[in-house]
Subunit: 290 residues, 4 copies
């Protein structure tokens, strides 16, 4: 199938799994060039997350701001599908790795993607405003463009359950502190506020920033790519998923569905009917009983 020399095929196989993250030899592990034995005890866990994702170590202030943003996303209770799935999964016999897998999997575009989409929105407003443009005007232009394209939700703003989400305010203070210390520029904090002001202009009422909106500010200030914003949220929520899986597991319940069985699910399909002979199939239309 190939006339390559075996040495060259082996080099291809090594290159197939090329990475700039880790180098391993017998008795030696280096991450981004740093010997693992030097990292242990000298680098904090959020700094390690940064190093793995970005290639370099953050400053202490950058690491602290990232760390603060990882705290509030850990959990939002059993009404969140990610948490509910983890709890149901252990009652089916899964160990924590399996429960975490089934649950983390659903942190997709809709359940886990609002932060990422908000980061993209901020980036679009940043580009729209350019160096000297007014941020509120730029935000209004961008939001109206998205609305014209049929989008109904501005990611990072408003909340189905909380009239005012309690998480953004304390994080905003930490951003302001980091700006004052020169750790971040404050550009994306200003863009976040501009979105809020633009929304008030458009909708005629205040739609407060939610947890996704403020973590998007922080991750943008720290220079993360939008998809990594989703990744960081997953690292945070993974903690809550594990905690709920573990709590449920200790209760020993078996095959826990979404509701007690005494609440029946509603059936809205065809009424009871006989299975037709093969020759009579393929013609009848379904009837709804709802």
């Amino acid at each position: 199938m190939t006339t390559k020399k075996p040495e060259d095929i082996l080099a291809d196989a090594s290159a197939w799994w090329d990475t700039s993250i880790i180098d391993i030899h017998p008795g030696e592990i280096a991450i981004r060039g740093y010997p693992v034995e030097e990292l242990i005890g000298n680098v904090r866990f959020p700094e390690m997350i940064w190093l793995m994702l970005r290639g370099e170590l953050p400053t202490t202030a950058q690491g602290n701001l990232l760390e603060a943003a990882l705290v509030p996303g850990v959990d939002h209770g059993p009404h969140a599908p990610s948490i509910a799935i983890a709890r149901m999964a252990v009652t089916c016999g899964l160990p924590v790795n399996g429960a975490m897998a089934s649950a983390i999997n659903v942190l997709d575009d809709i359940h886990g993607g609002a932060g990422q989409q908000c980061m993209e929105l901020y980036g679009e407003i940043d580009a729209e405003a350019g160096a000297a443009g007014d941020l509120i005007d730029a935000a209004e232009i961008v939001i109206r463009r998205h609305m014209a394209a049929g989008e109904k939700i501005v990611p990072g703003f408003g909340h189905r359950f909380h009239p005012i989400d309690p998480r953004p305010a304390p994080l905003f203070k930490l951003v302001a502190k980091a700006v004052a210390e020169g750790a971040v520029s404050g550009r994306h904090a200003a863009i976040g506020k501009a979105v809020s002001d633009a929304l008030e202009r458009i909708k005629g009422r205040h739609i407060p920033m939610n947890i996704d909106g403020i973590t998007a500010v922080i991750f943008c200030e720290l220079g993360f790519e939008p998809e990594l914003g989703r990744g960081l949220f997953i690292l945070s929520r993974a903690v809550g998923i594990l905690a709920h899986a573990w709590e449920q597991k200790q209760r020993g319940r078996r095959i826990m569905g979404p509701m007690p069985k005494e609440i029946p699910f509603r059936y809205s399909g065809p009424a009871r009917r006989a299975v037709p002979e093969p020759a009579a199939r393929g013609a009848q239309a379904p009837r709804s009983v709802r």
Copy 2:
């Protein structure tokens, strides 16, 4: 939080899990209205798949054509990520359900989505041609439109490994038979051939239809929605994933990675370096050693 009456909240909870697929009461199970005890032995497995996905039973000819299309997609060997992942997973300790989950998960847009995309392409050509238009002209217009939008691959045509994919020819014969019997219209078979002809015009050479192209023809002829095309492929490939997981499990290997460890992965990150003091972090740029 709510002033609804308890009865109404319970009705909301039932409606939350509304389904038209199955109705269950103590001692009674009806699927799409058919008592399960009547389905057993009277309905074949591919017909059951059809009933579950479509709401009605197919004719025998429709069921047979669907069945034939489920056969060839079961496996494409350990170079397919879906198969490789299943085999690695069992060596990590997973039972078959876990191995199947990790593997089926990767049947996403790129690995499992070509059939679905091809169905969408056929649908676009169908609409472009309208009732009386030339199918090859319509196919050329649609393909050139996709190419102009930056798409490099025509889903369902060409194969990285097989100069001629051995699977479409026998399936095409079965479609022709079904057309002759009046079970399907043949419209999408004609569209599939038109894509092939249009590609020859555009590229100046024959690019043969692959397995995704022919199963897309069949699923379109049978009236399935494109996303169900992906779903049907997953039901098929699930068989191969299970077979490979099982074969690997019987061999008893532990933690099998993608290659023997004697083939090292290539490292292309920064050279070995000391962890800087916290105060010195955040400045240095990464260096590549590749």
Copy 3:
């Protein structure tokens, strides 16, 4: 790291992914030795499942019995975690592959393992009875042994919801037919009935066989290993998981949790309290408010 010749390392890499299931060359695919183009149209889908898992094609009667056993397990409604998870997953943005992965993953020991455990139980009774022993006596000995070891459930018998599961009776008829035709021996059907009789002796009341008990009979009669019993159930339930994911997706809901939000989850942890200063942490005990 190694002094092996490159040719030998390459042979090791080929052997790393050794399989007896499929052979692929450019333009050629053979499954268990059979050219794929000959399998298409000549082998039915359940026969293909058998070929992939067992290495050889079944007789028509064996294939038909396997097929019948795949039909009833496709669905048991949204109270089943596997179905509920699939429906929640699509409302989080997952495509069908992701929804199927999260859902299939939970078909573990407790939710998907009863059939497998029942097959193991039948095997144990088979061995206990030997060639000439009384099956009911053997069943009683084995069940009492499991009970003495602390097991509370006899897999395959009794049902939390159905006083009489409607699925075993029609399947039993098909087993009887296959026995009459000489397709299977009937040994495991007899063992299944013996378990029922032994349970009546032990518990003083009839505990009817459920769907797992009868599919275990069939899969044992057909010579499948217990873990493949779980695998076959997954192939069956995958159909229902796909159907429910697809139905839910068409409804367009976003982030659907397990219950309407108007039903609050119960909180049973410590009452509201202030975060202590770092120096004061690690001493206080949690208080429950339940």
Copy 4:
């Protein structure tokens, strides 16, 4: 189906999702009783992990020791199935959540369970020794018991790749420091050393502790249950899984299998053969060509 009052059924539904972890009301979120706005900025991420899993906040010294143990497990390169799967998954089209799900799923008994098993081993030795017994004697008894039961591997000791794992030594220093500060008792550090000494007695050579052995020491010293040891490892490895998924995604490759296709997988099944007529099936035995 039930004669309960609607209010009672609703209470059952609330209790169905009972949790002691989080309490949520409009505008209010409290975790383990602490208002989320107080936790932000006052509690570090590893302390938050502790709070979620244990119910109370750790002392600063406990939090630091936990943090150090989370650093080295983040990555062990693309030869680890968890890392390889993440990289393959993104080339199939999965976003980071999906790649992380497929990868975390395989951190099961064998790939992710050694730390948990080592914690159980330490616990068994602790109980065997009792308050006054010799730890090395107890370790020898316990290890010999496991060997007699057929176990071939002592979890946490020895490494297939590293003659000496570089990660335990710096972590041991941090444990010693925590013992000196009175943060932990040192009991499990002593047990870990006792296992090493007992292994030398039994095997006649030194088998050094690996990363699982030392993190098991730390998690035991800090009072975590064994299954949470696996959970903590998953939280750590999730970082590497995300980093590798992200690195691979930026390279834009499509459907990357485990090896370049120029290295064929080995086929060891039956030689090419014709599909028999249905009446001739079920008799032939498979032949191996290996």
